[in-house]
Amino acid sequence: MRAAGIEMTHVPYRGATAAVNEIVAGHVPVGFTGMSSVVPLLADKRVRLLATSTSSRASQLPDVPTVAETVPGFSFVPWCALLVPAHTPPEIVARLNTAAVTALKDPTVRARLAELGFEVVGGTPEQLAVAVRAEFARMGDLIRAANIRE
């Protein structure tokens, strides 16, 4: 919004499902949410996609422009990860990593995740550590700059 020079009123919901329901009902004019909450509604045109939030267009939604096409450089991708409490033994972290990465390679899991609009990532604990540190710093900068507080 800052980059685009527009103002919007933020309406907080308890979860994406509740927010998307309000958009479908027309109570809220526009929403910003994860693709998995919206993809199932596309078939019967219950919502209209305005834009996707990452750098390139979705392969399954080639006609939907990216926000970056209007606001150059814009990129925002939700993600999720496995963590364990600090001091969990490294051998256990390694076993969990192997099992999770194997799970992500399973064709039925991949197909289901793709259907829901998720991109399978996987990777090592070290790669996740780098990503978490970078994203934590980036979000911290963004949140302080916009003075976002709960």
Binding site: G15, A16, G26, V30, G31, F32, T33, G34, V47, R48, L49, A51, T52, S53, S55, S56, R57, L61, V64, A68, G73, S75, V77, W79, C80, A81, L82, L83, V84, P85, A86, H87, T88, P89, E91, I92, V93, R95, L96, A100, A103, D106, V109, L113, L116, F118, E119, G122, G123, P125, E126, Q127, L128, V130, E135, F136, R138, I143, I148, E150
Partner: protein, 186 residues
């Protein structure tokens, strides 16, 4: 090797075989701890509601993890306060491998930046296991070079776009979130 020299040492001092066996068993147990993990069900703690995006991913992955590790991985949702409650529970859980947290970017990178009293530090209270879905893995060495170059570019794979703002980058192969509006709205 160590066992043999221990045995030699003990034989040297004429200690009974029974004591020796006891020593070896206890040392073998501690050494074998990781290979026997998991020997009981593992809790996948999801700090968000059932049927949320994270929950769906956790359930899909947990089934296959159960298959490959031979123990049940069960999802336990602890929603509340936008994920704070579950994350606090995860931070306080025993670090024994029987609690694994499945969390999203919001609870890992946003909430603790928004609340001074979040009650957990994602960088200190947790260890990373793996990313599941979302952004592509952290930039490799070549990616970091490009990051410093401060412009959008393509990685060696030729398909990853790398866009750079400030000091950090987010790389992805396809969009995973979107803006949407009711049909017919302008």
């Amino acid at each position: 090797m160590a066992a043999r020299s221990l045995r030699t040492l003990l034989a040297w001092f004429g200690l009974p075989g029974l004591v020796l066996a006891g020593c070896l068993t206890s040392s073998a147990t501690s050494l074998a701890q990781a290979p026997t993990y998991p020997d009981r069900p593992v809790r996948l703690l999801v700090p968000l509601a059932a049927a949320s995006a994270v929950d769906v991913v956790a359930r899909l992955v947990s089934e296959k993890m159960s298959d490959s590790l031979g123990q049940r991985f069960y999802v336990e949702n602890q929603p509340g306060a936008a994920g704070l409650l579950g994350m606090r529970a995860g931070a306080r859980a025993a670090p024994d491998g029987y609690t694994v947290v499945v969390a999203n970017d919001s609870v890992i990178t946003m909430l603790p930046n928004m609340k001074a009293d979040a009650g957990y530090d994602p960088l200190k209270d947790f260890l990373p296991v793996t990313q599941l879905v979302g952004i592509d893995r952290a930039p490799d060495a070549a990616g970091c070079e490009r990051e410093r170059a401060h412009h959008a570019c393509t990685s060696e794979a030729g398909r990853h776009q790398l866009y750079v703002r400030g000091a950090s980058a987010v790389r992805s192969t396809s969009p995973r979130s979107c803006s949407c509006a009711p049909p017919g709205s302008r």
